[in-house]
């Protein structure tokens, strides 16, 4: 089986008939989707169609929104993440998240990356922690730029560096899935290229789900693409198929820029 095979024999996360409500309002309507272990999955769709909402239901960040409610079945490695027995804190350590706007803590670069490992007790001593921080920064491609100033504030970095710091922070807890919500929308083309390169390198080590408004970006970084419209999943398939040969009229209209 090649990596680009459509059937996902070993999905990392599965979602069945998922609905998400904000109070009375339904934001996601009956979405079913599988996320592959070694794949990058892109969510595309016009603004307000529910991409972020669905993404946030994958690590239960919607719990923090008052009035948000999720129904249906979402599982990580076959385990229902909305089951009462699920430890949300543990879940979020396994399903990490990178946000649209870089949000480093107002702490040093080192402490930003060490934050997760510390609260989860991943490093028994200082040298282990140093090792974890270094490895995470290396994987995020930021090590060379910051290795001499780990004590400086994370907020003093450039926007692109901050976003890579946030990625380093997310991978420092060694998650299984990384969710990225428009990680490049606040960045310039060069910083964007760096993040895309990074996604290529991380692919295979983590399951990655990325929300993007940039069609070229979806085409460049992902193997699977899901097109959302008005809270429903219109089409889901291999990225190459979606972009060269969409089955649905709505998908075609969207990727050819006829609406958005």
């Amino acid at each position: 089986m090649t990596q680009d095979d459509l059937t996902i024999s070993d999905p990392k996360m599965t979602a069945h008939n998922v609905n998400v409500f904000y109070g009375e309002k339904q934001a996601i309507n009956d979405v079913s989707i599988d996320v592959g272990t070694e794949l990058v999955t892109a969510f595309i769709g016009p603004s307000g169609c529910g991409k972020s909402t669905f993404l946030r239901s994958l690590n239960r960040m919607n719990d923090t929104v008052a009035g948000a409610k999720v129904t249906g079945h979402i599982a990580l490695d076959g385990e229902d993440i909305y089951a009462p027995s699920m430890d949300v804190v543990q879940l979020r350590a396994r399903v990490g998240m990178v946000f649209q706007k870089p949000n480093p803590f107002p702490k040093s670069i080192y402490d930003n990356v060490a934050y997760g490992p510390r609260i989860h007790g991943l490093a028994p001593n200082k040298s282990d922690l140093d090792g974890i921080v270094e490895k995470a920064l290396m994987r995020a491609g930021l090590w060379d730029e910051v290795k001499d100033r780990l004590g400086e504030s994370g907020t003093a970095l450039s926007g692109g560096q901050q976003q890579r710091l946030c990625i380093a922070r997310a991978i420092a807890v060694d998650p299984e899935v990384i969710l990225m919500d428009e990680p490049c929308s606040a960045l310039d083309p060069i910083a964007t290229a760096k993040i895309e390169e990074l996604i290529h390198e991380l692919r295979g080590k983590f399951a990655i789900v990325i929300v993007t408004h940039n069609m070229q970006q979806a085409a460049r970084v992902s193997q699977r693409t899901a097109f959302f419209h008005l809270g429903t999943l219109v089409e889901y398939g291999k990225t190459t198929d979606i972009f060269t040969n969409p089955k649905q009229e709505r998908t075609k209209d969207y990727i050819t820029g006829r609406y958005g």
């Binding site: 690590n59 960040m61 923090t64 008052a66 804190v89 543990q90 879940l91 979020r92 350590a93 990490g96 998240m97 946000f99 706007k101 949000n103 480093p104 803590f105 107002p106 702490k107 934050y115 997760g116 609260i119 989860h120 946030c166 922070r169 997310a170 807890v173």
Partner: protein, 458 residues
């Protein structure tokens, strides 16, 4: 004829009303005659005339009321009859005011014989200045009114002019507060300088013995250290030990855990706590908290436990400050972007870890600013300490002992029979100045911190 400012104010208000009607009528008339459309509606022409009539005259009235008594007294002192007055002091003042009261009809006859010859000059001068004042005021009112009246034309922009005048009036109103503060500071400074001529600033700031009751200055009578220590012990230490943790926890609960419904109830309740008159806190401290604490201290076997204790005053003051600290902390925590909180939660931190490790550190500068403001309020607070902390200037770290504070001593120095130029009375002003400078510095530093912090997230 005396100068009755209230009546005169009514008079010019009446004139202004006439001016308003006249201005309005004239603008209508002119417009009709010239068959032109008015630039501004007739009311504005009316207001324009009325304001020009009223404002300069009212301003003059205010100034004249302030300066004319001085001018009258000067005139009287220059007269023949004033030659025999004692040179200085209270006697001279008493004679002058006696004569003035008779001359202005506030009292039937002189009480001090020496004042009798001064009554006539006083009456003369009062008349003279009253007429000058009234004449000048009416002249100003009429001149202003006429000036405005003659400017009315159909295309005259009365509306914009009125806008400008109104702006000027608002500006003056805001200046009142600023100038008053300035005046208070100046008088504080002036009286303090008089005190520092008698007692060296070093003694007040560094002396360790406070015993101003003895009257004549002697060694170390005005040593302020015990007062400063008492103030710090109560306002900056005990009160803050109570207010900071409780205020912070309240803020964290309200911002992070409370349901919107709870928040809707608790916040106004806290604001009510902030609105309780301090005297109520004072007797709560003196009548309830202090005796209970004393019993507690006696039970523990602590020596010299007093019914007036630093602890009682400090605890109650801390409770009083809680809403202040919690609302400042509430604002700072709310100002930390939601993204920061989400970032931490998404890493698998619990809400509690998020609060302790991300929100509070991020909010800390703002919270610090709030705490400094709270300290500056606490050390300026008076009623509670007067009622509960006591007046004995002890240098002790024992919270069950009685201590005194700067504000409590100011009250003590200024109540009862006082001569207004003894070192003892003047000391109150010097203490007030010290307090003012300290709280001013605290406020400046605090506001700077808060401002910088706000900028960091904007």
């Amino acid at each position: 004829m005396t100068f009755n400012a209230a009546a005169l104010l009514l008079l010019i208000a009446g004139l202004a009303l006439i001016g308003w009607i006249a201005g309005r009528a004239r603008s209508n008339l002119l417009a009709a005659r010239a068959q032109a459309k008015l630039h501004s509606r007739p009311q504005y022409h009316g207001w324009y005339v009325a304001l020009w009539l009223f404002a300069p005259a009212a301003l003059f009235l205010a100034v004249w009321s302030a300066v004319s008594p001085g001018l009258i007294t000067n005139d009287v002192l220059a007269s023949e009859a004033a030659k025999d007055l004692p040179a200085f002091g209270f006697e001279r003042g008493a004679i002058l005011s006696d004569a003035r009261n008779v001359a202005q009809g506030k009292q039937d006859a002189v009480r001090i014989p020496a004042a009798a010859p001064l009554v006539a000059p006083y009456a003369d001068a009062t008349h003279l200045y009253a007429w000058i004042g009234i004449g000048a005021m009416l002249a100003l009112a009429l001149a202003g009114g006429l000036y405005a009246f003659t400017r009315i034309k159909p295309d005259f922009r009365a509306r914009t002019r009125v806008e400008k005048i109104v702006m000027l009036v608002l500006l003056l109103a805001s200046l009142v507060a600023i100038l008053t503060t300035f005046g208070i500071v100046l008088s504080l400074l002036f009286e303090s300088i008089r005190f520092f001529r008698l007692v060296s600033p070093a003694e007040l700031l560094f002396g360790t013995n406070w015993a101003p009751t003895s009257g004549a200055p002697q060694d170390d009578t005005f040593g302020g250290i015990p007062l400063f220590w008492g103030t710090i012990l109560i306002g900056a230490i005990i009160a803050m030990i109570v207010a900071i943790p409780i205020g912070m926890m309240t803020a964290v609960y309200l911002t992070q855990y409370a349901a919107p419904r709870v928040r809707r109830w608790v916040k106004p309740l806290l604001e009510i706590l902030a609105g309780v008159p301090t005297v109520v806190y004072g007797y709560f401290a003196a009548l309830t908290v202090a005796p209970a604490l004393r019993e507690f201290a006696v039970m523990l076997g602590i020596p010299n436990a007093s019914t007036e204790s630093a602890l009682a005053a400090g605890i109650v003051m801390g409770v009083m400050i809680i809403p202040f600290v919690s609302s400042m902390a509430d604002d700072s925590i709310n100002a930390v972007p939601q993204a920061m909180r989400d970032g931490s939660l998404a890493l698998g931190a619990t809400p509690n870890e998020t609060i302790r490790q991300v929100l509070i550190p991020a909010a800390l500068p703002g919270v610090m600013g709030g705490i400094l403001l709270a300290v500056s309020r606490a050390i300026g607070e008076t009623m509670i300490v007067v009622m509960a902390a006591g007046l004995s200037a002890n240098m002790t770290a024992n919270p069950f002992a009685s201590v005194t504070t700067v504000t409590a001593q100011i009250v003590k120095l200024l109540t009862g029979d006082q001569e207004f130029d003894s070192a003892k009375t003047l000391a109150a002003f010097a203490l007030g100045l010290v307090l003012f400078v300290v709280t001013l510095l605290l406020n400046i530093v605090a506001l700077r911190i808060v401002k910088k912090y706000r900028e960091a997230y904007e």
